[in-house]
Amino acid sequence: MTAAGLDRREFLRASAAVGGGLLISLYVPELELARAQSPATGGKVFAPNAFVRIGTDEIVTVIANHSEMGQGVYTSLPMLLNEELEADWSKVRVEPAPVDAAYNHTAFGIQMTGGSTTTTSEWERYRKMGAAARVMLVQAAAQQWNVPAGSCHVEKGVVIHAASGKKASYGSLANAAAAIPVPSNVPLKDPKNFITIGKKVRRLDTPSKTNGTAQFGLDVTLPGMLTALVARAPVFGGKVVSFDASESLKVPGVRTVEQVPSGVAVIASGFWPARLGRERLKINWDDGANAEISSTKMLADFSSQSASPGLVAKKAGDPVGALAGAAKKITAEYDVPYLAHAMMEPLNCVVDLRADSCEIWTGTQFQTGDRANAAKVAGLAPEKVQIHTTLLGGGFGRRANPASDFVMEAVNVAKAAKAPVKVMWTREDDIRGGWYRPMWHDRFAAGLDANGEPIAWTHTIVGQSIMEGTPFEAFGIQNGIDSASVEGAADLLYGIPNLQVDLHSPKIGVPVQWWRSVGHSHTGFSVEAFFDEVAHAGGKDPYQLRRKLLAKQPRMLGVLDLVAQKAGWGKPMPAGRGRGIATHFSFDSYVAQVIEASVEKDGTVHVHRVVCAVDCGRVINPDTVTAQMEGGIIFALTAALKTEITLENGRVQQRNFHDYPMLRMFEAPAVEVFIVPSEEKPTGVGEPSVPPVAPALTNAIFAATGKRVRRLPIRSSDLAAGAEVKS
C-alpha cells in the first residue's frame, strides 16, 4: 500500500453476512467512530465496507471499489482476491461497492477510478482480503476436525485435511469462519506460486455484454420514474434570461418544464416526448463572457504566446547557451485541438430524491466527489446520499468530473421534478457539453552537435490547466505548473544535457478535463514527432538515435528493441509505405510502437499495421493488457486522423458522429501487442498505449511522403499530391 493507506489505521474485520456466510471488511476506527456519532446514522453502526462475501451457497462475491468502464477491473480485482482465497473461480461473482471511505483509492484518498491506477491501488489490498478469508476458513475447518490448521490446505474452494481425507467446502464453513478472530498480517504468496495472476482469464462481464443483460446507467428504471433532457446554454457559462415552454407543454408526455442552474429541464414520461418538448422550447440566453471564443484565433494566440518562455517546469544544463552554440538548430510548432470523450453511452444519471435521502444510479468514476456534491445540492448530509455505480458505457475520464457536473445537474432536476428522474444527455449534448481535452500548442527548438546528435532541447507548452480550481489543485499544481500540462515533457527520458520545458496556462472559458492519457495525449505526440525531426535533421535513424539516448533507461530500451524487432524495422515494405516509431512513458508504464502507413494521391491515409510493445510491470491478466493496448491504439487513431472540437462565436461547431467521426471497422488496422515479462510492481495499462500512436503515425507519413504533419487531426487536404502541409 502507499503511504496514504498506511497512515490510516486499518484492520480487517469479519462478520456474519445477512442470510449466512462470511464477510471480510475493512475496519477503520476513525471512520467507525464518525459513523457512530453521526446523526445521519442515528448512532447505529453499520458496515457497508465489505470486500468479499462468502455465502453458504458457495457463491463468493467480490465487491469492486473501482468502476468498470471496459478496462476489465471487474475481472482483475476478483483475480487478485482469489489468488489468495483460492475459491472455485466458477463461483466468483462481482458487485459494485457503495460509497464509503473504506473503498478509497489507496493513493488518492477518495473513491474514484482514474489515472490507470486500479491495479496499483488494489494490488496488495485485495490479495490481503482474500488471504485473511482463506486463513479463517481453514481455521474453522481445523477446529471442526480438531486438527492443526497447518495440516490443512485449500483447493478450489475446499479445505482439505490430507492425512484424514476430510474435506469441507467454503460455503459449509462460512458461518463458522465468521466467528474466528481475523488474523493480522497473513503473509502473501511468493509470486512464483501464483496460480491465477499472470494467466489469461476470461472476463466475468462478457456473457452479460452479449445478451443485453448488462446494466448501464441508461438502463436503470424506477417505479414512477420520469425522463428529463436539459437545454443548456449554447455558450459555456451562458445563463437563461427567460423562456417560453408553452409549445413544449403541448407535447403529449411532457409533464413540466423547469429552470435549473444549468439551463431548462424538460421533464417527461420518456425520452422521446422530452426531446420533442426540448425542441419546442424558446429560450432567451445571456451568452455571458465567452461569446467571442474562437479556436481559430486561439491557435494564433497560442503560437504567439509560445514565442516567449513560460513558467519553467524543468531545466537542466544551459539550454539557451547550448542552442546558441549548436552546429545546427531546428525549430517546430505543434498543435492539437480540443477533444470530446464521446463515450458510446452518453451521460445519464438517475436520482430518487426524498425528504431525508437521495439515491443515485449512474456510471461514475468519481464516487466520493459526486456524493459530496450531490449532498450539497440536496441539502443532505453526505451519509444520506448513496450512489449505485452501474457499468460505464465508456469513461475515458469524462465520468470523473471534478465538478460532478452531470450528477449535480440531475439532483437539481430531481428537486424540480418532485419524482424519481433519469436525466439523459443526447449525443449532441455530449459533443457540445464541454469538459474537453484541452487544446495545446507546443513549440520546440533543438540544437545538434557536429555529429548530428541533440545537445539542447527547449519546449514551450501553451494550454489550459485541467486541475486549476478543482479539489486536485493542491497536489496537482506546484509553483503555477499543472503537472498534467507538462507530463510526458518535463520528465523526458532522453539523455539530452541541456533542456528546458516551460508552460503558459491561459485562462479560457471552455471547461476542460482529463481525457484518456491526459497531458500525455499532447506531449506524446509533439515530443516524439519532434524527436523524429531531430533524428532526420542529424541524419540519424530514428530508432538508433532513440536507442542511444535511452541508454540509461533499460525498460524503455527493452520495449523499443522489442517493437523494432517485431515490426522488422529497416526491412523492406510494399512500395509507398512508410514506417514510424515512437515511445512514451506514462502512468509508470513503458510503451513503444511502430506504425506502417501509406498515403494516397488524394491525401487519404491508410494505417496498415500497428506493432506495440509494453512493459507495465507484473501482469495480472495478459489478455486485458492486450485488449487495453488494442483499444487505446484505436482510440488514439481516431484522435490522430479524425476528430476536433472547434469553436466560433463561443459555439461548438460539431454535434454528432457525422462531424465528430470515429474510426470504423474498415479503417481499423491489424494491431500486434507484445508484453515484456516483468517482476516489477504492476503499473498502468488503460492509458499508456494512447500517446505514442499519433507520432508513430505522423513519423510513418513522413517516411512515406517526406511531409511532416505538425497539427492534429491529420488532414488529407494537407497530404494530397502538390499540397503544402500547413502548421
Binding site: T210, N211, H658, F666
Partner: protein, 156 residues
C-alpha cells in the same frame, strides 16, 4: 395501437406511431439491451432486426414495425448459445460493452446472408457500428470464429 411480434411474442402498444422504435423497445417493452448512441443512424448501437433485416431503431418509427417481426439482442438466443455469443465470449470481444448488442445484431445478419465472410465482407457489414473502446480487431476475429462454429454445427 401498433401490433408486432417481438422476439417471437405478439405485442401491442399505444405509443405514438411516430416514436422511434428504440424508445418503444427500451421504455415500453423494458428491453434495454438495445442502446441509444447517436439518434441519427450514425453509430449502430440501436441495431435490431426487422423481418430479418438489420435496422437502426433510433430512426425507425414504431409504425414501420406494424405487423412485422422485431428481434432484439434479448431474442438472439435464450441461453447464450448463438455462435456469435459463444465466439464473443471465447474471444472476450467487449470492453465497456455498450455498443456490443448492436455489433452482434449487425453481425448476425451478415452471417445469415454470408456464412463465410471475408475481411472485406466484414468491413462492409460492420462499418455502420462504432466501438469507442476499439474492439474492432476482436470483433473481426469473433465473427470469423462464429462463422467457423456455425459451420461445425451444420456439419454435425
Amino acid at each position: 395501437m401498433t401490433s408486432f411480434v417481438l422476439n417471437g411474442k405478439a405485442v401491442q402498444t399505444d405509443a405514438d406511431p411516430a416514436t422511434p422504435l428504440l424508445w418503444v423497445l427500451r421504455e415500453s417493452m423494458g428491453l434495454t439491451g438495445t442502446k441509444y448512441g447517436c439518434g441519427m443512424a450514425q453509430c449502430g448501437a440501436c441495431t435490431v432486426h426487422l423481418d430479418g433485416q438489420a435496422i437502426r431503431s433510433c430512426v425507425a418509427p414504431l409504425s414501420r414495425a406494424e405487423g412485422k417481426h422485431v428481434t432484439t439482442i434479448e431474442g438472439l438466443s435464450p441461453d447464450l448459445s448463438h455462435p456469435l455469443q459463444r465466439a464473443w465470449i471465447e474471444i472476450d470481444a467487449p470492453q465497456c460493452g455498450y455498443c456490443q448488442s448492436g455489433q452482434i445484431m449487425s453481425a448476425a445478419i451478415l452471417l445469415k446472408e454470408n456464412p463465410k465472410p471475408t475481411d472485406n465482407d466484414i468491413d462492409e457489414a460492420m462499418s455502420g457500428n462504432i466501438c469507442r473502446c476499439g474492439t474492432y480487431p476482436r470483433i473481426r476475429r469473433a465473427i470469423h470464429r462464429a462463422a467457423a462454429m456455425a459451420a461445425e454445427g451444420r456439419t454435425k
